[in-house]
Each structure stands twice: as structure tokens, then as C-alpha cells.
């Protein structure tokens, strides 16, 4: 995030940097928080100089981006299969045009015991596959942020060998593939929101080191509930928004898949269509009295899992409209 970058890295001369520092201005963000008048006073410079300085800092911190939507689409197409991590469930992957997309957050929502964690484990196993098998590559890393101590390495092994016997199974020709998988996945227990924010903010170095392409956060709801009383909606939203900002930035910068699980606090409307019904009832980690189902997390794709006919419904907000479909009977997961 360029706004947090120290001003001294922006090519300003040392004298100016020390003058800025003695005025308490260390980052571009600091500078923008002041009015021009305040800057004129604290730097003892003319208004023209201040404007010039602000303009210079602006051009330095704005990311270089001479890209059009056409360029971006070409880049994604060239990245090909590794743009998505397949879920391994064919109709679902078809609807999602390949799987969960990199570069953005996908939220899994559902009641307890529906299979959210199982899905996460399955996607983790899938992500570690070579690209030709629908994964993100064998050099890809997975970070699993476990807030409820639900991660089970044994279950991961089980799912991997059942879903991909050719690759991970007992008689696999790929030597050491299971060993590799287990090394690709790093699990961090996270106990509270503050710890999560800390973890997320230090994740950047690891993202580069271990080529992390999948971040699983299972689950966000547990943290928020643990930390805040119900009436404290505002600070809860504030913290969630902050977490979302860091996650989105990581997802985009490292073209990683970010998978976040969440719970529902109110029941689904059984008769109404899912677009309407579930939308109103995913109060999740936000104010459950809000009828509109406001989610502070603002995820790009939301997958709603329901009990009953074992259906999973996707509400991919950013993905093509026709993918917004109810897909009954497709969850082949044995939970």
C-alpha cells in the first residue's frame, strides 16, 4: 500500500524529508491528512511549493497503470487455467467459469455442519495440484488461517487421496506428492480479531517467499462474535472492513484466491427464491437486526450452502450473471 510508504523512498531530497519528518509527516498518507494551509505553516514554505510537493508525491504513489480492460482481459487469458482454482465439482466449476477466481475474495456462507471447512480443505488440496490438473501449481503455497481449530491434517490427506487418487493416492506415480502437499499448506491458528489483523499485515513477506496463491480464513464469524458484544456493531464493522481491505489487497497483488467462511445467524426463507431470501438473511457477522443483510465484508463472490437437498447456491456478485444460479444436488462431499 503506497500510502504507507515512507516519504524518504519517494526520491525527495534529504533536507526536505527531515523537514517533513520534524513536522510529523512520514508517509504520503500523513501529508494528505493535512490541509494545504497546515502544510504551508508547518513546513514554512510557500503555497506554490506545497502544491508542487503534493502533486509530486501524488504522481509517485499512484500505481503505474496504463492499462485498459482489454489489456487486463488478455493478461488473464494468458494466465490461463491458473486464474482459477477448480473446486473439483464439475457443475460448480462450469458455473464459476473455472472455479474460485484469483485476485478476489470468495465467501462461503452456511449453517454449522454444512461442509464449509470440508470445502476449504478440498480447495486447499486442489490448489496444490499442478496447473494441468486444475490447481495453481506445485510450487504454490496455501495459508490456512484457522480461527476455530478445525483444521485437520488427517482429513486433508484423506480428501486429497480420495479426490485425486491418480496424483495423491497410494499408487500414485507422482513420487512424494502427498509429502509436497503437506508442506505446501501452512496453518496459522488465530484467536482474536487483533491477532488476525496482525497476521494479515505480516503475511505479505510470506506471500512472496512461499508463492502463496490461496488464503483460507475459516471462519471470520467466530472471531467477530468472540470479540464484540452485539451492540458494538460499529467497531465490529470497522474492523471487518479493515480485514477485508488487507485481504483484498493481498488477493489482488499476489493474484491469490481468498476463501472466507462465514455463518448465518438467521434462517433461510424456505420458499422464496434464493436471490431474495438468502440475501436478506445472511446477517452473518454484521448487525443481525438489519433486515437488508448488510455485509461489511463486501466480498466479490458469495457462495451460499444450504441443507435439505444438499444444494449449494452461488451468488457471484462480480462474476457473470448467468453464473448466479442455484445448483441443486451437486455437493458430492461426504461430510
Amino acid at each position: 500500500m503506497a500510502g504507507q510508504q515512507p516519504l524518504r523512498r519517494l526520491g525527495l531530497d534529504d533536507d526536505l524529508v527531515s523537514r517533513l519528518a520534524s513536522a510529523g509527516l512520514h508517509t504520503a498518507g500523513d501529508m494528505f491528512s493535512k490541509t494545504e494551509l497546515q502544510l504551508v505553516q508547518s513546513l514554512d514554505a510557500s503555497r506554490e511549493k506545497v502544491v508542487e510537493l503534493l502533486d509530486y508525491v501524488s504522481t509517485r504513489i499512484v500505481p503505474e497503470q496504463a492499462k485498459t480492460a482489454g489489456d487486463l482481459l488478455r493478461e488473464r487469458r494468458e494466465a490461463g487455467a491458473s486464474f482459477f482454482v477448480a473446486t473439483g465439482i464439475q457443475p460448480l466449476d462450469d458455473a464459476l467459469q473455472g472455479g474460485f477466481p484469483t485476485g478476489m475474495i470468495t465467501e462461503l456462507v452456511g449453517p454449522a455442519g454444512i461442509g464449509k471447512t470440508q470445502t476449504c480443505l478440498q480447495v486447499a488440496a486442489q490448489a496444490c495440484l499442478p496447473a494441468k490438473l486444475g490447481g495453481l501449481g506445485e510450487d504454490a503455497g496455501v495459508v490456512y488461517l484457522d480461527t476455530e481449530r478445525k483444521f485437520s491434517p488427517d482429513r486433508l490427506v484423506e480428501i486429497a487421496s480420495e479426490r485425486h487418487p491418480g496424483h495423491y493416492g497410494e499408487f500414485s506415480t507422482e513420487k512424494g506428492s502427498m509429502e509436497r502437499l503437506l508442506n505446501q499448506v501452512t496453518v496459522f491458528p488465530v484467536d482474536n480479531s487483533a491477532a488476525l489483523v496482525d497476521r494479515l499485515e505480516t503475511l505479505q513477506a510470506r506471500m512472496i517467499e512461499s508463492n502463496v496463491r490461496l488464503i483460507v480464513l475459516d471462519s471470520i464469524a467466530a472471531l467477530a462474535r468472540r470479540d464484540f458484544a452485539r451492540e458494538d456493531t460499529l467497531s465490529r464493522q470497522e474492523l471487518l472492513t479493515r480485514q477485508a481491505a488487507v485481504l483484498k489487497s493481498l488477493a489482488y497483488t499476489f493474484s491469490a484466491v481468498v476463501l472466507v467462511t462465514n455463518q448465518v445467524t438467521t434462517s433461510f426463507y424456505p420458499t422464496s427464491g434464493l436471490q431474495g431470501g438468502s440475501r436478506q438473511s445472511i446477517a452473518s457477522h454484521t448487525n443481525s437486526s438489519s433486515r437488508e443483510g448488510k455485509s461489511a465484508f463486501e466480498t466479490e463472490t458469495r457462495m451460499v450452502m444450504r441443507r435439505g437437498q444438499r444444494a449449494a447456491t452461488f451468488v457471484p456478485r462480480a462474476l457473470p450473471y448467468f453464473a448466479r444460479a442455484s445448483l441443486p444436488h451437486l455437493f458430492g462431499l461426504e461430510v
Binding site: 500500500m1 503506497a2 500510502g3 508517509t27 504520503a28 498518507g29 494528505f32 491528512s33 490541509t35 503534493l54 502533486d55 508525491v57 501524488s58 504522481t59 504513489i61 499512484v62 500505481p63 497503470q65 492499462k67 485498459t68 480492460a69 482489454g70 489489456d71 487486463l72 482481459l73 488473464r76 467459469q97 477466481p101 485476485g103 478476489m104 451492540e231 456493531t233 464493522q237 470497522e238 474492523l239 472492513t241 481491505a245 489487497s249 489482488y252 427464491g273 436471490q275 431474495g276 440475501r279 436478506q280 448487525n287 437486526s289 438489519s290 437488508e292 448488510k294 455485509s295 463486501e298 466480498t299 458469495r302 451468488v315 456478485r317 462480480a318 462474476l319 457473470p320 450473471y321 448467468f322
Partner: protein
């Protein structure tokens, strides 16, 4: 009286010299306004409500709950602004400032190909009516995608800096007639201890955006989220309001709220200096933002009535298939602008 007359005469003499500091007569403003064709949304109901589309030279805020179609709205406009003059469009380019990462180019390419198909269809129909070759004027899908500049910004400082560098960008890209900021609020909703600092930053940003909007006849579309507001004195009850608070509410000239009512999406014009407050239905379908089935049917019935009385401008045979109907509706819609005969 005399000085007013002088201003009028001066205005006429200066002609199209927009952005002059000397002030302008109301008459001159009307003349200028004619050159600032609004950007259509492809939903007749919304266009009608907004006086022809999203206005240029002003800020328009679009707010609503997640999933209601704010980003779809922004993407649709980024495509629509590029509809060539020959088809009654603005023939401009777009800048999409993506602060959340919610722009999906795959979806954008769908919207582009739908518009390309619409335009090709119009061109073919026009040829049948003896209008010379419009088909070569239809841009390709690649051209549409290439006409949308995308900036991805990661924090509020980058966002403020980007707005500061906008004038420079617009000089280098004079064709850009639409700037979408999706969303304004995201980076401003966290990491602020001092709310007065945030308010100041936002109002300054709004002011800068307003300046470039006027100077370059830009439509600036600001996507905003909804936030929970705890009502004081209502036993802790809360309601949903557009994010960023009371002072931000003054930033945009127009404010459009997208909302769900049951299974249907509606757009409500909450604020406009010219137009009546109104609520109309719209839908988000495979090809983009469109009218709802029911309002299409109503429009078709009305068009049928005028056609029967001999005043219809676009009769066109009506197909039974839904998507055909949609194309027809869109065609009539764009054709409308092309004919410059918005009399409905």
C-alpha cells in the same frame, strides 16, 4: 439589464469556449448543455428518470446494498459512454477507478459484446431503411474493452493521489467522458481515528472531482456502500444509510439509490437539482443493465399504440423470444437517441 444583455451577447460571441472564468448567461448554459449528451444506461426507465441518462459535468453517486448492482451499473456506463455519435451516443472513453477489486473484465467483455450486437442490429435495420452504411461505424468488442482505462488503487492515499493526477490524465486522454470510482468509501471506512480529517479529505476529493467534471464535461459516477446507522433515541434501532456521513451527502449533485423490493431491483433518484424524486424498476441480466420484463412490455404496448396511430418511429417486427424482445427494446432505445426524438 444592460449588463445582462452584454453577458448574453458575449456568451454567444464566445461560442463554445467552455470553462471561461467570465461567467455565463443561462442561455449560454443551455446551449452548452446541448453538447453534453448524457450517458444512457440501457434501462429506459432509469434514463427517463434521470433526464436522458447519467448527466455529464456533474457528480452522480450510486449507492446500495451489496449485490444490488452498483458495480454492474458502473461497468455498463463504461461501455455505454463509448457508443459512437452515429448511434446517438457520446462516443467517448471511460476511466474505471477500482478501489475494491470488484471490476471483473470477463463480465465487462460480456457487456461489450452485447452492445456490439445491439449496434450491429441497428446498423442492419438502418441499411434496410436506406440509411447509408452504419455497420462500419460499429466498434469491435476489443475496441470497447480498449476504451476503458482501469486504475486499481489500494489505499486512501493512493485514491486521493489519483484524483490529484486526474487533470493530467484527462489532458492526455481527452476522449474520456466518464470516470467511475468504485467505490468511494471502501478505503475511507477504516483506519481513521479522527473523523474530521476524513471528512476534510473527502470533501476536498469531491471538490477536485467536481472541477474536472466541469472542465472536461465528464460524468463522474461515485459508487458508495450503505452503512448501519444507529438511531439515537430509538432504543438502539439501526437503519441503513449511504456510507461516509452527512457532509458527504452534499458532495454529489445527484444521488441514485439502488435497492431491492422483494424480488425486483429498483432505482430511486434521491437527489437532483432538476428532476423529480422517483423510483423505477430495473434488472441486471446476462447482457447487462436493462428494463424489467414488465416495464418492457408496457413500453412495447405504448409503442404499439403510437404505431397504430401512425406516429411510430420504429415499428420493427416483434419476436416472441425473450432475448429478441430485449434486443428490440434496446434497439428502440438507442434508436431513440439516434433520431433525437425523445418525445415520450
Amino acid at each position: 439589464m444592460g449588463s445582462a444583455a452584454a453577458a448574453v451577447a458575449g456568451g454567444v460571441l464566445r461560442g463554445g469556449l467552455a470553462g471561461s472564468q467570465a461567467g455565463a448567461s443561462a442561455r449560454e448554459l443551455i446551449v452548452r448543455g446541448r453538447h453534453k449528451k448524457p450517458i444512457i444506461t440501457f434501462c429506459r426507465e432509469i434514463d427517463g428518470m434521470m433526464g436522458g441518462g447519467v448527466p455529464r459535468g456533474e457528480l452522480t453517486e450510486v449507492c446500495g446494498t451489496p449485490g444490488v448492482g452498483k458495480t454492474q451499473f458502473g461497468m455498463q456506463l463504461a461501455v455505454d459512454v463509448q457508443i459512437p455519435h452515429q448511434f446517438g451516443g457520446v462516443g467517448g472513453g471511460a476511466l474505471y477507478i477500482d478501489t475494491e477489486g470488484s471490476l471483473t473484465v470477463e463480465r465487462l467483455s460480456q457487456l461489450c459484446s452485447a452492445v456490439v450486437e445491439h449496434l450491429q442490429k441497428i446498423a442492419r435495420n438502418k441499411r434496410k431503411q436506406g440509411v447509408p452504411d452504419l455497420e462500419s461505424a460499429v466498434p469491435t468488442q476489443e475496441a470497447f474493452l480498449g476504451g476503458i482505462h482501469v486504475w486499481r488503487l489500494h489505499d486512501h492515499a493512493e485514491q486521493l493521489a489519483a484524483v490529484r493526477t486526474l487533470p493530467e490524465f484527462l489532458v492526455a486522454h481527452p476522449e474520456v467522458k466518464l470516470v467511475v470510482m468504485d467505490s468511494v468509501a471502501f478505503h475511507f471506512r477504516h483506519a481513521f481515528q479522527d473523523m474530521s480529517v476524513r471528512t476534510r479529505m473527502l470533501s476536498r476529493m469531491a471538490q477536485q472531482l467536481n472541477e474536472v467534471a466541469q472542465a472536461h464535461s465528464l460524468a463522474v459516477v461515485l459508487v458508495n456502500q450503505m452503512t448501519t446507522k444507529v438511531m439515537t433515541g430509538h432504543r438502539g434501532e439501526s437503519s441503513l444509510v449511504p456510507a461516509l456521513g452527512e457532509s458527504w451527502a452534499h458532495a454529489a449533485t445527484n444521488r441514485l439509490l439502488l435497492l431491492w423490493k422483494g424480488q425486483e431491483r429498483f432505482a430511486e433518484l434521491l437527489k437532483s437539482p432538476r428532476l423529480r424524486r422517483k423510483t423505477v424498476p430495473f434488472s441486471v441480466v446476462g447482457v447487462g443493465i436493462r428494463d424489467t420484463q414488465s416495464s418492457r412490455a408496457a413500453a412495447a404496448a405504448a409503442a404499439g399504440a403510437t404505431a397504430a396511430s401512425g406516429g411510430g418511429s420504429s415499428s420493427g417486427k416483434r419476436s416472441s423470444s425473450a432475448s429478441e424482445g430485449q434486443y428490440q427494446a434496446a434497439k428502440r432505445h438507442v434508436g431513440h437517441h439516434a433520431n433525437q426524438s425523445r418525445t415520450l
